[in-house]
Symmetry: C2
Subunit: 419 residues, 2 copies
């Protein structure tokens, strides 16, 4: 990473503490990523993005703010990026994927809580995430009890707008979500001073759809046997999609996909077991599960998670001539995400079965962050459906620590032998 000390100081970063994070990341990344053999050339760009994750991109955000722009931080795939883009603001996903932030998070939150929530809260409270420090507004949602209540604590530190996501999928719930999107538009208009126009919103819808499309292209390429790209690399790309400048991200990912298409033509069977991950999100730099699985004789070819299919599946229709019509289109697209926060959530098991076939899966790993109740309980239903369809499944509940890595490896190893 370049020298950004002055910028970080300006952002109120706790420099000394943050240095410890900056020192650890390159080693973790090197060990996990750069040791992979025969990586696509196109990954170089993404390597660069990680190397500069708290530097070059933050510099762009700061430049945007110097020109009067606003930066908005989000935690969840339900927050409609289209609205942020349509008001000329930049949206970024927030730091939440490292054990590094847990200690500070536990100063204000109970220990028995999902590591993702403890991490993002710790990143803000401990002043060690430049993304948080760049944000003019954080946008939360009510997708789980832990996040819902943690935002109340974050509000002591920074402005927060919370969108109330309905918990069911009846017709009136779609209308409720439309109304929440309208409230969010109002909030963003007030923050930026820019009015959302039909033209502007259509442009934003188009941009976001193109981002979804290139991710779908990447995922579709993984349906090949063998996949032309590792699960680790794919995961990294999707993680970066939450932070990166969208046009550049699309261009770089298209180029990578071109390369992968060539690879497919000359690929030879590698005999590896094909694994689907389903469950809770893996925020940057949480590569733990992928690293374990791909360190063994297996490749992860699809993630039915929020840093996976749930992020890019289904586009927002740009048809319509009024804001109301476009908002309706957005509500329809977002409400169709099959998150375990909904009751019931049968769409998710249907998705999993469809992916199992499309990606020619040998087995499923149900990845559950500790204390995430919705996904943990929904395992009961997913397990039943998978067993009914003779698809092997392994449940792994874990956090960000490395303590259980050996134990998980042993279990995955046994699972791979069995399937």
């Amino acid at each position: 990473m370049g020298d950004y000390k002055k910028m970080w100081e300006g952002l109120g970063i706790d420099i000394e503490k943050h240095d410890a994070l900056c020192d650890a990341l390159p080693e973790l990344f090197g060990d996990t990523y750069l040791t992979q053999e025969n990586r696509p050339e196109g990954m170089n760009y993404f390597n660069y993005v990680v190397a500069e994750v708290h530097g070059a991109r933050i510099e762009e955000l700061e430049k945007h703010k110097e020109n009067g722009g606003k930066v908005v931080g989000t935690f969840c795939v339900f927050v409609p990026d289209e609205v942020i883009l349509a008001t000329g603001a930049i949206g970024v996903g927030l730091c939440s994927g490292s054990q590094f932030w847990i200690e500070d998070g536990e100063k204000v939150l109970p220990r028995n809580l999902c590591p993702l929530i403890k991490a993002f809260t710790g990143a803000k409270v401990g002043l060690t995430c430049p993304y948080f420090q760049s944000c003019d507004l954080l946008v939360g949602e009510t997708t789980c009890d832990g996040k819902k209540k943690a935002y109340e604590i974050l509000e002591d530190y920074t402005p927060v707008h919370v969108m109330e996501l309905p918990q069911m999928k009846r017709e009136k719930n779609y209308e409720q979500w439309e109304d929440e999107i309208k409230l969010f538009i109002k909030e963003m208009e007030e923050l930026t001073g820019n009015k959302v126009t039909v033209e502007g919103l259509k442009k934003a819808i188009d941009l976001n759809n193109r981002k979804r499309r290139v991710l779908k292209r990447l995922y579709d390429l993984r349906k090949n046997t063998p996949s032309p790209i590792s699960g680790l690399d794919s995961l990294l790309i999707t993680q970066i999609a939450f932070y990166d400048e969208p046009e550049r991200f699309i261009k770089q990912t298209e180029e990578l996909c071109d390369e992968l298409e060539e690879r497919v033509k000359n690929s030879k069977p590698n005999g590896k077991k094909r694994i689907m991950i389903t469950g809770t999100p893996m925020a940057l730099p949480n590569w733990k599960m992928h690293s374990i699985v791909e360190g063994l004789d297996a490749e992860i070819v699809v993630e039915e998670t929020c840093i996976g299919t749930r992020y890019y599946e289904n586009e927002v229709s740009a048809e319509g001539e009024t804001i109301d019509e476009l908002v309706k289109n957005m509500a329809n697209r977002y409400m169709n995400i099959n998150c375990a926060c909904f009751t019931p959530n049968y769409g998710r098991t249907e998705d999993i079965l469809r992916y199992a076939e499309e990606y020619d899966i040998d087995g499923v790993i149900y990845y559950n962050l500790s204390f995430c109740h919705t996904y943990a309980i929904e395992y009961n239903q997913v397990e039943k459906v998978l067993k009914d369809n003779d698809i092997p499944v392994l449940m792994v509940e874990t956090d960000y620590s490395e303590e259980d890595t050996g134990q998980i490896r042993t279990r995955v190893e046994a699972f791979l032998e069995m399937i």
Copy 2:
């Protein structure tokens, strides 16, 4: 308990397993309750209700059903009992307060989950709760992730209707809750074949308000120093309020309160520390915390919980000449319950401060069932406000097991010495 084997068999109870529960309860009750000195005479009725908890009351439910009536089980103070009563059905709280049911609950639910949820699920799955077996319908709500998702599992065993409780308290949320109450009326009308009328609903509102009023009378009596009744006995009465026939319950509690009023006239200071419990519910027979505290030199004089003030505070206005108006009144009353499921939930800290003054509190014990995220996170805010007001607070996170009893006793003892 009388001989109800035949009735239980008819209900599909697992007799052998259930016998183990029936054998354990009298001893637990005897040790916890009957060892108290100088109990009010009026407690005899409630002793009887506990002794017959799976017998005499179930017999009443069965009789009601033989006459074509319906029985509805609920888990939460947000479900409007008025609607159940107005369709001629009987509403009962459901088994969820004993370690006994945990093992069966963990067969279908994750271990890292609130014991209350594991217990009620286990009670149904293991066929050891005659209340569950008597029910024609269970009514759930979306007050927390754990319950919300556990109802999906219960649906495999019995019909469930889930009410979507909003997660905020804006004007539109009140309207959403009105709509949920209307859907619940429709569901109950279909189940019972009885139409809800204005007159019938007003009667039900009146009955429920009278029940709230007598509980308020009981709690108001506890404001005296010393309280004329133990926290243990008060807790038992409120627990029974969820199961008992309302008119009988009101009559018996009024009589008890008459007796307590006489006691107050002749009471002498006992020097005991006055404690408020705030936090998560204590379902029958969960007497653990009260038993520990009152085994020491302290008395619990108020519970800011769902088996306490949140259950009876605020009446439903019976003013209005249409169902819509009465539904609006109900929505207003229920939405004003200050549950940690709401974001934000500042009303709760206001309640706690008010009670601290009204009940002349020496200290607060924040009682948190393990893995209940909403209340665990909200502790941060409550602790801050209490400290700002120089009110000592002790946080206790626990489940239904007896393993931590000694440790909690030591902590409470130290707390009582300090305040």
